[in-house]
Protein backbone atom coordinates (compact mmCIF):
# COMPACT_ATOMS: atom_id res chain seq x y z
CA UNK A 1 0.00 0.00 0.00
CA UNK A 2 1.37 3.37 -1.01
CA UNK A 3 0.39 6.62 0.64
CA UNK A 4 -2.30 8.47 -1.31
CA UNK A 5 -2.49 11.42 1.06
CA UNK A 6 0.42 12.32 3.26
CA UNK A 7 0.16 15.04 5.88
CA UNK A 8 3.38 16.33 7.48
CA UNK A 9 3.47 18.59 10.51
CA UNK A 10 0.31 20.43 9.47
CA UNK A 11 -0.39 23.45 11.67
CA UNK A 12 -3.05 26.13 11.50
CA UNK A 13 -3.18 29.13 13.78
CA UNK A 14 -5.96 31.69 14.09
CA UNK A 15 -4.41 34.72 15.73
CA UNK A 16 -3.07 33.38 19.02
CA UNK A 17 -5.06 30.17 18.90
CA UNK A 18 -3.50 27.06 17.43
CA UNK A 19 -6.42 25.03 16.09
CA UNK A 20 -4.29 22.34 14.48
CA UNK A 21 -0.81 21.69 15.81
CA UNK A 22 1.83 19.59 14.08
CA UNK A 23 -0.42 16.81 12.78
CA UNK A 24 1.14 14.10 10.63
CA UNK A 25 -0.47 11.02 9.14
CA UNK A 26 -0.81 9.17 5.86
CA UNK A 27 -3.85 7.67 4.17
CA UNK A 28 -3.02 4.66 2.01
CA UNK A 29 -4.72 3.81 -1.22
CA UNK A 30 -7.93 1.92 -0.49
CA UNK A 31 -7.95 2.85 3.17
CA UNK A 32 -10.76 4.23 5.27
CA UNK A 33 -9.07 6.57 7.68
CA UNK A 34 -10.88 8.21 10.57
CA UNK A 35 -10.08 11.35 12.56
CA UNK A 36 -11.77 11.62 15.93
CA UNK A 37 -11.46 13.85 18.93
CA UNK A 38 -13.55 15.68 21.50
CA UNK A 39 -15.49 18.79 20.49
CA UNK A 40 -13.22 21.64 19.49
CA UNK A 41 -10.28 19.32 18.98
CA UNK A 42 -9.54 20.89 15.61
CA UNK A 43 -10.88 18.09 13.42
CA UNK A 44 -12.90 20.30 11.12
CA UNK A 45 -10.07 22.83 10.82
CA UNK A 46 -7.68 20.03 9.88
CA UNK A 47 -10.20 18.94 7.31
CA UNK A 48 -10.64 22.44 5.90
CA UNK A 49 -6.90 22.92 5.59
CA UNK A 50 -6.56 19.68 3.60
CA UNK A 51 -9.53 20.59 1.40
CA UNK A 52 -8.02 24.00 0.64
CA UNK A 53 -10.49 26.25 2.45
CA UNK A 54 -7.76 27.49 4.78
CA UNK A 55 -4.08 27.84 4.10
CA UNK A 56 -1.83 25.96 6.53
CA UNK A 57 0.33 28.05 8.85
CA UNK A 58 3.02 25.38 8.65
CA UNK A 59 3.45 21.85 7.32
CA UNK A 60 2.57 20.19 4.05
CA UNK A 61 -0.01 17.91 2.55
CA UNK A 62 0.88 15.69 -0.42
CA UNK A 63 -1.60 13.90 -2.64
CA UNK A 64 -0.32 11.21 -5.02
CA UNK A 65 3.14 12.66 -4.57
CA UNK A 66 2.03 16.20 -5.40
CA UNK A 67 2.09 19.00 -2.85
CA UNK A 68 -1.41 20.35 -2.31
CA UNK A 69 -1.06 22.56 0.75
CA UNK A 70 -2.01 26.13 -0.01
CA UNK A 71 -3.82 25.27 -3.25
CA UNK A 72 -7.35 26.58 -3.77
CA UNK A 73 -10.20 24.21 -2.98
CA UNK A 74 -11.33 23.96 -6.61
CA UNK A 75 -7.82 23.04 -7.74
CA UNK A 76 -7.63 20.37 -5.07
CA UNK A 77 -11.00 19.03 -6.20
CA UNK A 78 -9.71 18.79 -9.75
CA UNK A 79 -6.75 16.72 -8.60
CA UNK A 80 -9.20 14.10 -7.38
CA UNK A 81 -10.07 15.01 -3.81
CA UNK A 82 -13.79 15.51 -3.29
CA UNK A 83 -15.42 16.43 -0.02
CA UNK A 84 -18.77 16.31 1.68
CA UNK A 85 -20.00 18.79 4.22
CA UNK A 86 -21.13 18.41 7.79
CA UNK A 87 -24.17 20.57 7.15
CA UNK A 88 -26.24 19.93 4.06
CA UNK A 89 -25.00 21.81 1.00
CA UNK A 90 -27.08 21.44 -2.14
CA UNK A 91 -29.07 23.43 -4.66
CA UNK A 92 -32.34 23.16 -2.79
CA UNK A 93 -34.66 24.44 -5.51
CA UNK A 94 -33.39 21.98 -8.11
CA UNK A 95 -34.23 18.33 -8.61
CA UNK A 96 -31.93 15.53 -7.53
CA UNK A 97 -31.02 14.94 -11.16
CA UNK A 98 -30.27 18.61 -11.75
CA UNK A 99 -28.08 18.72 -8.64
CA UNK A 100 -26.06 15.79 -9.92
CA UNK A 101 -25.94 17.22 -13.43
CA UNK A 102 -24.73 20.55 -12.09
CA UNK A 103 -22.05 18.80 -10.09
CA UNK A 104 -20.87 17.14 -13.30
CA UNK A 105 -20.94 20.44 -15.20
CA UNK A 106 -19.06 22.23 -12.44
CA UNK A 107 -16.39 19.56 -12.23
CA UNK A 108 -15.85 19.24 -15.99
CA UNK A 109 -15.83 22.94 -16.82
CA UNK A 110 -13.59 24.32 -14.10
CA UNK A 111 -13.19 27.76 -15.59
CA UNK A 112 -14.29 29.59 -18.74
CA UNK A 113 -11.35 28.38 -20.83
CA UNK A 114 -11.69 24.74 -19.87
CA UNK A 115 -15.40 25.10 -20.58
CA UNK A 116 -14.78 26.43 -24.10
CA UNK A 117 -12.25 23.67 -24.75
CA UNK A 118 -14.61 20.97 -23.58
CA UNK A 119 -17.46 22.48 -25.59
CA UNK A 120 -18.98 19.94 -27.93
CA UNK A 121 -17.20 16.97 -26.41
CA UNK A 122 -20.12 16.94 -23.95
CA UNK A 123 -18.77 14.62 -21.28
CA UNK A 124 -21.57 12.45 -19.95
CA UNK A 125 -19.51 10.68 -17.31
CA UNK A 126 -20.13 9.64 -14.64
CA UNK A 127 -23.70 8.65 -15.32
CA UNK A 128 -26.33 10.45 -13.22
CA UNK A 129 -28.53 7.39 -12.75
CA UNK A 130 -25.62 5.23 -11.87
CA UNK A 131 -24.47 7.59 -9.12
CA UNK A 132 -28.02 8.20 -7.92
CA UNK A 133 -28.64 4.50 -7.63
CA UNK A 134 -25.34 3.99 -5.85
CA UNK A 135 -26.25 6.46 -3.08
CA UNK A 136 -29.84 5.19 -2.91
CA UNK A 137 -31.55 8.05 -4.73
CA UNK A 138 -32.30 6.13 -7.93
CA UNK A 139 -36.10 6.41 -7.72
CA UNK A 140 -35.98 10.04 -6.56
CA UNK A 141 -34.24 11.71 -9.52
CA UNK A 142 -37.14 14.03 -10.20
CA UNK A 143 -37.73 15.06 -6.59
CA UNK A 144 -36.79 18.57 -5.49
CA UNK A 145 -33.60 18.32 -3.44
CA UNK A 146 -34.81 20.72 -0.77
CA UNK A 147 -37.83 18.49 -0.11
CA UNK A 148 -35.86 15.32 0.59
CA UNK A 149 -35.51 13.90 4.09
CA UNK A 150 -32.34 15.06 5.85
CA UNK A 151 -30.61 11.70 5.53
CA UNK A 152 -31.31 11.60 1.79
CA UNK A 153 -30.00 15.15 1.38
CA UNK A 154 -26.72 14.02 2.90
CA UNK A 155 -26.68 11.07 0.48
CA UNK A 156 -27.19 13.53 -2.36
CA UNK A 157 -24.18 15.45 -1.05
CA UNK A 158 -22.11 12.29 -1.37
CA UNK A 159 -23.55 11.71 -4.83
CA UNK A 160 -22.51 15.19 -5.93
CA UNK A 161 -18.99 14.60 -4.63
CA UNK A 162 -18.91 11.38 -6.65
CA UNK A 163 -19.58 13.33 -9.85
CA UNK A 164 -15.99 14.55 -9.48
CA UNK A 165 -14.83 10.89 -9.78
CA UNK A 166 -12.50 11.36 -6.83
CA UNK A 167 -9.66 9.11 -5.75
CA UNK A 168 -10.00 10.39 -2.21
CA UNK A 169 -13.19 11.47 -0.50
CA UNK A 170 -13.05 13.71 2.56
CA UNK A 171 -16.19 13.22 4.63
CA UNK A 172 -17.02 15.78 7.32
CA UNK A 173 -19.27 14.04 9.86
CA UNK A 174 -21.38 12.01 7.43
CA UNK A 175 -23.48 10.61 10.27
CA UNK A 176 -24.28 13.93 11.98
CA UNK A 177 -28.02 14.38 12.26
CA UNK A 178 -28.88 10.90 11.00
CA UNK A 179 -31.18 8.44 12.79
CA UNK A 180 -29.89 4.94 13.68
CA UNK A 181 -31.09 3.24 10.52
CA UNK A 182 -29.73 6.05 8.35
CA UNK A 183 -26.42 5.70 10.19
CA UNK A 184 -26.28 2.00 9.33
CA UNK A 185 -26.95 2.87 5.69
CA UNK A 186 -24.21 5.51 5.81
CA UNK A 187 -21.69 2.98 7.21
CA UNK A 188 -22.58 0.54 4.49
CA UNK A 189 -22.25 3.26 1.83
CA UNK A 190 -18.81 4.29 3.09
CA UNK A 191 -17.60 0.69 2.78
CA UNK A 192 -19.12 0.34 -0.66
CA UNK A 193 -17.41 3.55 -1.80
CA UNK A 194 -14.12 1.86 -1.11
CA UNK A 195 -15.01 -1.68 -2.13
CA UNK A 196 -16.99 -0.97 -5.30
CA UNK A 197 -15.50 2.34 -6.45
CA UNK A 198 -11.98 2.10 -5.08
CA UNK A 199 -12.24 5.46 -3.35
CA UNK A 200 -10.04 6.05 -0.32
CA UNK A 201 -11.76 7.85 2.49
CA UNK A 202 -10.73 10.35 5.14
CA UNK A 203 -13.48 10.61 7.67
CA UNK A 204 -14.06 13.09 10.48
CA UNK A 205 -16.77 11.82 12.76
CA UNK A 206 -18.28 12.11 16.20
CA UNK A 207 -20.23 8.89 16.12
CA UNK A 208 -17.96 6.34 17.81
CA UNK A 209 -19.69 3.13 16.76
CA UNK A 210 -19.62 4.25 13.14
CA UNK A 211 -15.96 5.24 13.20
CA UNK A 212 -14.89 2.10 15.05
CA UNK A 213 -16.98 0.01 12.69
CA UNK A 214 -15.80 1.27 9.31
CA UNK A 215 -12.31 2.68 9.76
CA UNK A 216 -9.12 0.77 9.10
CA UNK A 217 -7.06 3.20 11.12
CA UNK A 218 -7.91 6.13 13.34
CA UNK A 219 -6.12 9.32 14.33
CA UNK A 220 -7.17 10.84 17.64
CA UNK A 221 -6.64 14.57 18.10
CA UNK A 222 -7.14 16.61 21.23
CA UNK A 223 -6.77 20.38 21.45
CA UNK A 224 -5.29 20.40 17.97
CA UNK A 225 -2.57 17.89 18.77
CA UNK A 226 -2.40 14.25 17.64
CA UNK A 227 -2.47 11.93 20.65
CA UNK A 228 -2.83 8.49 19.11
CA UNK A 229 -2.93 6.71 15.78
CA UNK A 230 -3.66 3.09 14.96
CA UNK A 231 -6.31 0.46 14.48
CA UNK A 232 -9.67 0.97 16.22
CA UNK A 233 -8.82 -1.59 18.88
CA UNK A 234 -5.41 -0.12 19.58
CA UNK A 235 -6.82 3.39 19.82
CA UNK A 236 -9.62 2.28 22.13
CA UNK A 237 -7.09 0.81 24.53
CA UNK A 238 -4.73 3.80 24.44
CA UNK A 239 -4.59 5.46 27.88
CA UNK A 240 -4.02 8.92 26.37
CA UNK A 241 -7.22 8.56 24.38
CA UNK A 242 -9.25 7.39 27.34
CA UNK A 243 -7.84 10.31 29.28
CA UNK A 244 -8.84 12.82 26.63
CA UNK A 245 -12.38 11.55 26.56
CA UNK A 246 -12.82 11.32 30.35
CA UNK A 247 -15.66 13.45 31.52
CA UNK A 248 -17.19 13.41 28.06
CA UNK A 249 -20.26 11.38 27.39
CA UNK A 250 -18.62 9.31 24.73
CA UNK A 251 -18.97 5.60 24.87
CA UNK A 252 -16.70 3.29 22.99
CA UNK A 253 -18.59 0.56 21.26
Amino acid sequence: MSALLEVQGLTRRFGGLTAVSDVSFAVSEGEIFGVIGPNGAGKTTLFNVIAGHYKPSAGTATFSGRGISGLRSDVIARLGIARTFQAVHLFAAETVAENLRRARVLSTSHGPFAYLRSFGTGRREPDLRDVATFVGLGPLLDQTAGGLAYGLQKMLGIGMALMVTPKLLLMDEPAAGLNPSEKRAASALIRRLRDERGISILLVEHDMPLVMGVCDRILVVNQGKPIAIGSPDAVKADPAVIDAYLGDDYEFA
Binding site: D74, R102, S107, H110, Y115
Partner: protein, 307 residues
Amino acid sequence: MKRLILLAAIVILAVLPWLANNRYVFHIATMIAIMAPLALSMNLMLRIGQLSMAHSAFMGIGAYASALLTMRLGLPPLASLLCGGVLAALTALVLGPVFLRIKGVYFVLLTYAFGQIVNLVFQEWTSLFGGNSGLYGIPKFSLAGYRLTAVSQYYVLALLFTAIAYWMVRAIERSDIGAILQSLNEDEMLSRSIGADALSWRIAVFTFSAAIAGISGGIYAFYIGFLSPQAFGFQLSVDLVVMNVIGGTSAALGPLLGAIVVVPLPELLREAKQYQLLIYGLCLMVFLIFIKQGLVSLIDRPRRKPA
Protein backbone atom coordinates in the same frame (compact mmCIF):
# COMPACT_ATOMS: atom_id res chain seq x y z
CA MET B 1 -47.43 31.01 -24.77
CA LYS B 2 -47.22 34.02 -22.50
CA ARG B 3 -43.62 34.44 -23.52
CA LEU B 4 -44.67 34.42 -27.17
CA ILE B 5 -47.28 37.11 -26.61
CA LEU B 6 -44.72 39.12 -24.72
CA LEU B 7 -42.17 38.79 -27.48
CA ALA B 8 -44.78 39.85 -30.00
CA ALA B 9 -45.56 42.84 -27.80
CA ILE B 10 -41.88 43.79 -27.69
CA VAL B 11 -41.59 43.46 -31.47
CA ILE B 12 -44.65 45.67 -31.91
CA LEU B 13 -43.16 48.13 -29.45
CA ALA B 14 -39.92 48.07 -31.41
CA VAL B 15 -41.61 48.99 -34.69
CA LEU B 16 -43.92 51.50 -33.04
CA PRO B 17 -41.61 54.48 -33.73
CA TRP B 18 -42.07 53.96 -37.48
CA LEU B 19 -45.84 53.96 -37.07
CA ALA B 20 -45.66 57.15 -35.05
CA ASN B 21 -42.96 58.43 -37.42
CA ASN B 22 -42.08 61.18 -35.02
CA ARG B 23 -38.50 62.30 -34.38
CA TYR B 24 -39.06 62.57 -30.68
CA VAL B 25 -40.51 59.08 -30.39
CA PHE B 26 -37.54 57.79 -32.34
CA HIS B 27 -35.19 59.52 -29.95
CA ILE B 28 -36.77 57.91 -26.90
CA ALA B 29 -36.80 54.54 -28.63
CA THR B 30 -33.12 54.92 -29.51
CA MET B 31 -32.26 55.79 -25.91
CA ILE B 32 -34.14 52.67 -24.76
CA ALA B 33 -32.23 50.58 -27.27
CA ILE B 34 -28.93 52.05 -26.07
CA MET B 35 -29.70 51.54 -22.40
CA ALA B 36 -31.17 48.03 -22.74
CA PRO B 37 -27.81 46.31 -23.41
CA LEU B 38 -26.34 48.23 -20.48
CA ALA B 39 -29.13 47.00 -18.25
CA LEU B 40 -28.42 43.48 -19.54
CA SER B 41 -24.73 43.87 -18.73
CA MET B 42 -25.63 44.95 -15.19
CA ASN B 43 -27.95 41.94 -15.03
CA LEU B 44 -25.01 39.62 -15.68
CA MET B 45 -23.17 41.17 -12.74
CA LEU B 46 -26.18 40.77 -10.47
CA ARG B 47 -26.31 37.13 -11.50
CA ILE B 48 -22.87 36.60 -10.04
CA GLY B 49 -24.07 38.43 -6.95
CA GLN B 50 -22.02 41.56 -7.51
CA LEU B 51 -23.45 45.06 -7.80
CA SER B 52 -21.10 46.99 -10.05
CA MET B 53 -20.88 50.76 -9.88
CA ALA B 54 -18.16 50.61 -12.51
CA HIS B 55 -20.48 50.02 -15.44
CA SER B 56 -21.09 53.71 -16.01
CA ALA B 57 -17.31 54.02 -16.32
CA PHE B 58 -17.17 51.13 -18.80
CA MET B 59 -19.83 52.82 -20.89
CA GLY B 60 -17.85 56.06 -20.66
CA ILE B 61 -14.62 54.33 -21.69
CA GLY B 62 -16.38 52.81 -24.70
CA ALA B 63 -17.97 56.13 -25.62
CA TYR B 64 -14.85 58.28 -25.37
CA ALA B 65 -12.68 55.62 -27.01
CA SER B 66 -15.04 55.25 -29.99
CA ALA B 67 -15.29 59.01 -30.42
CA LEU B 68 -11.60 59.76 -30.01
CA LEU B 69 -10.38 56.89 -32.18
CA THR B 70 -12.56 58.15 -35.02
CA MET B 71 -11.82 61.83 -34.46
CA ARG B 72 -8.10 61.69 -33.76
CA LEU B 73 -6.90 58.56 -35.52
CA GLY B 74 -9.46 58.51 -38.30
CA LEU B 75 -10.43 54.92 -37.65
CA PRO B 76 -13.62 53.73 -39.36
CA PRO B 77 -16.51 54.15 -36.89
CA LEU B 78 -17.27 50.43 -36.74
CA ALA B 79 -13.65 49.66 -35.87
CA SER B 80 -13.67 52.40 -33.21
CA LEU B 81 -16.90 51.03 -31.81
CA LEU B 82 -15.44 47.55 -31.45
CA CYS B 83 -12.18 48.95 -30.06
CA GLY B 84 -14.21 50.85 -27.48
CA GLY B 85 -15.84 47.59 -26.42
CA VAL B 86 -12.50 45.80 -26.34
CA LEU B 87 -10.92 48.61 -24.31
CA ALA B 88 -13.73 48.47 -21.74
CA ALA B 89 -13.39 44.68 -21.63
CA LEU B 90 -9.61 44.90 -21.18
CA THR B 91 -10.07 47.35 -18.33
CA ALA B 92 -12.42 44.89 -16.66
CA LEU B 93 -10.05 42.02 -17.35
CA VAL B 94 -7.21 43.87 -15.62
CA LEU B 95 -9.35 45.01 -12.69
CA GLY B 96 -11.26 41.75 -12.34
CA PRO B 97 -8.63 39.57 -10.67
CA VAL B 98 -8.17 42.22 -7.99
CA PHE B 99 -11.73 43.49 -7.62
CA LEU B 100 -13.63 40.23 -7.82
CA ARG B 101 -11.80 38.63 -4.92
CA ILE B 102 -13.82 41.06 -2.89
CA LYS B 103 -17.49 40.49 -2.39
CA GLY B 104 -20.66 42.27 -1.37
CA VAL B 105 -20.47 45.75 0.03
CA TYR B 106 -16.74 46.09 -0.49
CA PHE B 107 -17.05 45.28 -4.18
CA VAL B 108 -19.69 47.99 -4.51
CA LEU B 109 -17.43 50.48 -2.78
CA LEU B 110 -14.47 49.46 -4.89
CA THR B 111 -16.30 49.81 -8.20
CA TYR B 112 -17.86 53.03 -6.96
CA ALA B 113 -14.43 54.52 -6.23
CA PHE B 114 -13.19 53.29 -9.61
CA GLY B 115 -16.18 54.86 -11.37
CA GLN B 116 -15.54 58.17 -9.61
CA ILE B 117 -11.86 58.16 -10.56
CA VAL B 118 -12.63 57.47 -14.23
CA ASN B 119 -15.21 60.24 -14.21
CA LEU B 120 -12.84 62.70 -12.59
CA VAL B 121 -10.24 61.85 -15.23
CA PHE B 122 -12.81 62.59 -17.96
CA GLN B 123 -13.47 65.92 -16.25
CA GLU B 124 -9.88 66.90 -15.58
CA TRP B 125 -7.98 65.75 -18.66
CA THR B 126 -9.42 68.55 -20.72
CA SER B 127 -7.01 68.34 -23.65
CA LEU B 128 -8.06 64.78 -24.45
CA PHE B 129 -11.62 64.40 -23.16
CA GLY B 130 -12.84 67.96 -23.41
CA GLY B 131 -13.52 68.19 -19.68
CA ASN B 132 -16.79 69.39 -18.23
CA SER B 133 -17.61 71.48 -21.27
CA GLY B 134 -17.74 68.25 -23.24
CA LEU B 135 -16.29 66.63 -26.32
CA TYR B 136 -17.76 68.04 -29.53
CA GLY B 137 -17.70 67.18 -33.19
CA ILE B 138 -17.95 63.42 -33.10
CA PRO B 139 -18.48 62.30 -36.70
CA LYS B 140 -21.59 60.40 -37.71
CA PHE B 141 -21.46 56.64 -37.74
CA SER B 142 -20.83 55.18 -41.16
CA LEU B 143 -20.49 51.70 -42.54
CA ALA B 144 -19.10 50.91 -45.99
CA GLY B 145 -19.59 54.48 -47.14
CA TYR B 146 -23.14 54.65 -45.86
CA ARG B 147 -23.53 57.46 -43.33
CA LEU B 148 -26.10 57.22 -40.57
CA THR B 149 -27.72 60.62 -40.24
CA ALA B 150 -31.37 60.16 -39.30
CA VAL B 151 -32.45 59.17 -35.79
CA SER B 152 -34.28 56.19 -37.22
CA GLN B 153 -31.02 54.82 -38.61
CA TYR B 154 -29.37 55.04 -35.21
CA TYR B 155 -32.42 53.38 -33.76
CA VAL B 156 -31.84 50.42 -36.08
CA LEU B 157 -28.18 50.27 -35.09
CA ALA B 158 -28.98 50.36 -31.37
CA LEU B 159 -31.84 47.91 -31.77
CA LEU B 160 -29.57 45.51 -33.61
CA PHE B 161 -27.08 45.60 -30.75
CA THR B 162 -29.85 45.18 -28.19
CA ALA B 163 -31.01 42.09 -30.05
CA ILE B 164 -27.47 40.70 -30.13
CA ALA B 165 -26.89 41.43 -26.44
CA TYR B 166 -30.24 39.93 -25.49
CA TRP B 167 -29.59 36.85 -27.55
CA MET B 168 -26.16 36.38 -25.98
CA VAL B 169 -27.44 36.77 -22.43
CA ARG B 170 -30.26 34.35 -23.19
CA ALA B 171 -27.75 31.89 -24.63
CA ILE B 172 -25.65 32.14 -21.47
CA GLU B 173 -28.76 31.74 -19.36
CA ARG B 174 -29.83 28.56 -21.12
CA SER B 175 -26.42 26.97 -21.46
CA ASP B 176 -24.42 25.21 -18.80
CA ILE B 177 -22.72 28.53 -18.09
CA GLY B 178 -26.04 29.74 -16.72
CA ALA B 179 -26.18 26.74 -14.40
CA ILE B 180 -22.58 27.30 -13.34
CA LEU B 181 -23.12 30.96 -12.55
CA GLN B 182 -26.28 30.18 -10.66
CA SER B 183 -24.52 27.46 -8.69
CA LEU B 184 -21.67 29.78 -7.77
CA ASN B 185 -24.12 32.39 -6.65
CA GLU B 186 -26.23 29.98 -4.62
CA ASP B 187 -23.47 28.05 -2.87
CA GLU B 188 -19.93 29.04 -3.69
CA MET B 189 -18.31 26.73 -1.17
CA LEU B 190 -20.10 23.71 -2.58
CA SER B 191 -19.41 24.72 -6.18
CA ARG B 192 -15.73 25.18 -5.51
CA SER B 193 -15.47 21.90 -3.64
CA ILE B 194 -16.69 20.22 -6.82
CA GLY B 195 -14.01 21.99 -8.85
CA ALA B 196 -15.49 25.23 -10.17
CA ASP B 197 -12.99 28.05 -10.50
CA ALA B 198 -15.20 30.79 -9.07
CA LEU B 199 -12.84 33.70 -9.66
CA SER B 200 -12.24 32.91 -13.33
CA TRP B 201 -15.94 32.66 -13.98
CA ARG B 202 -16.55 35.99 -12.31
CA ILE B 203 -13.74 37.64 -14.28
CA ALA B 204 -15.20 36.25 -17.51
CA VAL B 205 -18.63 37.66 -16.69
CA PHE B 206 -17.20 41.02 -15.60
CA THR B 207 -15.17 41.29 -18.82
CA PHE B 208 -18.02 40.27 -21.07
CA SER B 209 -20.46 42.64 -19.43
CA ALA B 210 -17.92 45.49 -19.66
CA ALA B 211 -17.61 44.82 -23.40
CA ILE B 212 -21.37 45.17 -23.82
CA ALA B 213 -21.35 48.39 -21.78
CA GLY B 214 -18.44 49.75 -23.85
CA ILE B 215 -20.11 49.08 -27.19
CA SER B 216 -23.34 50.65 -25.96
CA GLY B 217 -21.27 53.67 -24.98
CA GLY B 218 -19.83 53.84 -28.48
CA ILE B 219 -23.27 53.74 -30.09
CA TYR B 220 -24.35 56.48 -27.70
CA ALA B 221 -21.33 58.62 -28.66
CA PHE B 222 -22.03 58.37 -32.40
CA TYR B 223 -25.72 58.96 -31.90
CA ILE B 224 -25.54 61.97 -29.59
CA GLY B 225 -22.41 63.41 -31.24
CA PHE B 226 -21.33 65.06 -28.00
CA LEU B 227 -19.94 63.58 -24.79
CA SER B 228 -19.94 65.02 -21.31
CA PRO B 229 -18.62 63.26 -18.18
CA GLN B 230 -21.95 63.79 -16.41
CA ALA B 231 -23.58 61.23 -18.69
CA PHE B 232 -21.35 58.50 -17.22
CA GLY B 233 -21.60 59.26 -13.54
CA PHE B 234 -22.88 57.45 -10.50
CA GLN B 235 -26.45 58.21 -11.57
CA LEU B 236 -26.10 56.01 -14.64
CA SER B 237 -25.04 52.98 -12.61
CA VAL B 238 -27.95 53.66 -10.29
CA ASP B 239 -30.29 53.82 -13.28
CA LEU B 240 -29.04 50.44 -14.48
CA VAL B 241 -29.70 48.97 -11.06
CA VAL B 242 -33.15 50.55 -11.04
CA MET B 243 -33.94 48.97 -14.43
CA ASN B 244 -32.94 45.57 -13.09
CA VAL B 245 -34.87 45.90 -9.86
CA ILE B 246 -38.02 47.09 -11.62
CA GLY B 247 -37.75 44.67 -14.53
CA GLY B 248 -36.51 41.77 -12.43
CA THR B 249 -33.13 40.09 -12.39
CA SER B 250 -34.09 36.45 -12.71
CA ALA B 251 -34.41 36.46 -16.50
CA ALA B 252 -32.85 38.37 -19.38
CA LEU B 253 -36.28 39.73 -20.15
CA GLY B 254 -36.25 41.63 -16.84
CA PRO B 255 -33.66 44.30 -17.62
CA LEU B 256 -35.19 44.67 -21.08
CA LEU B 257 -38.58 45.46 -19.54
CA GLY B 258 -36.83 47.67 -17.00
CA ALA B 259 -35.18 49.71 -19.74
CA ILE B 260 -38.46 50.07 -21.60
CA VAL B 261 -40.19 51.35 -18.48
CA VAL B 262 -37.43 53.43 -16.91
CA VAL B 263 -35.67 55.12 -19.84
CA PRO B 264 -38.68 57.14 -21.10
CA LEU B 265 -39.30 58.58 -17.62
CA PRO B 266 -36.79 61.44 -17.79
CA GLU B 267 -37.86 62.18 -21.34
CA LEU B 268 -41.54 62.20 -20.52
CA LEU B 269 -40.96 64.24 -17.38
CA ARG B 270 -38.41 66.53 -18.93
CA GLU B 271 -40.26 69.57 -17.61
CA ALA B 272 -40.36 68.24 -14.07
CA LYS B 273 -37.16 66.43 -13.23
CA GLN B 274 -38.00 66.44 -9.53
CA TYR B 275 -41.10 64.29 -10.09
CA GLN B 276 -39.06 61.89 -12.16
CA LEU B 277 -36.76 61.35 -9.19
CA LEU B 278 -39.70 60.99 -6.86
CA ILE B 279 -41.28 58.35 -9.09
CA TYR B 280 -37.94 56.58 -9.31
CA GLY B 281 -37.49 56.53 -5.57
CA LEU B 282 -41.01 55.44 -4.74
CA CYS B 283 -41.06 52.77 -7.47
CA LEU B 284 -37.82 51.35 -6.17
CA MET B 285 -39.20 51.15 -2.64
CA VAL B 286 -42.38 49.45 -3.77
CA PHE B 287 -40.51 46.94 -5.91
CA LEU B 288 -37.90 46.19 -3.25
CA ILE B 289 -40.51 45.41 -0.64
CA PHE B 290 -43.50 44.07 -2.56
CA ILE B 291 -42.41 42.95 -6.03
CA LYS B 292 -38.97 41.58 -5.24
CA GLN B 293 -38.68 39.62 -8.48
CA GLY B 294 -39.61 42.58 -10.65
CA LEU B 295 -42.04 43.00 -13.53
CA VAL B 296 -40.87 39.83 -15.20
CA SER B 297 -42.19 37.78 -12.27
CA LEU B 298 -45.66 39.21 -12.83
CA ILE B 299 -45.65 37.99 -16.41
CA ASP B 300 -43.52 34.93 -16.37
CA ARG B 301 -43.62 32.67 -13.33
CA PRO B 302 -40.24 30.99 -12.98
CA ARG B 303 -40.40 27.44 -14.24
CA ARG B 304 -38.19 24.54 -13.34
CA LYS B 305 -35.88 23.48 -16.07
CA PRO B 306 -36.21 19.76 -16.84
CA ALA B 307 -33.03 17.81 -16.10
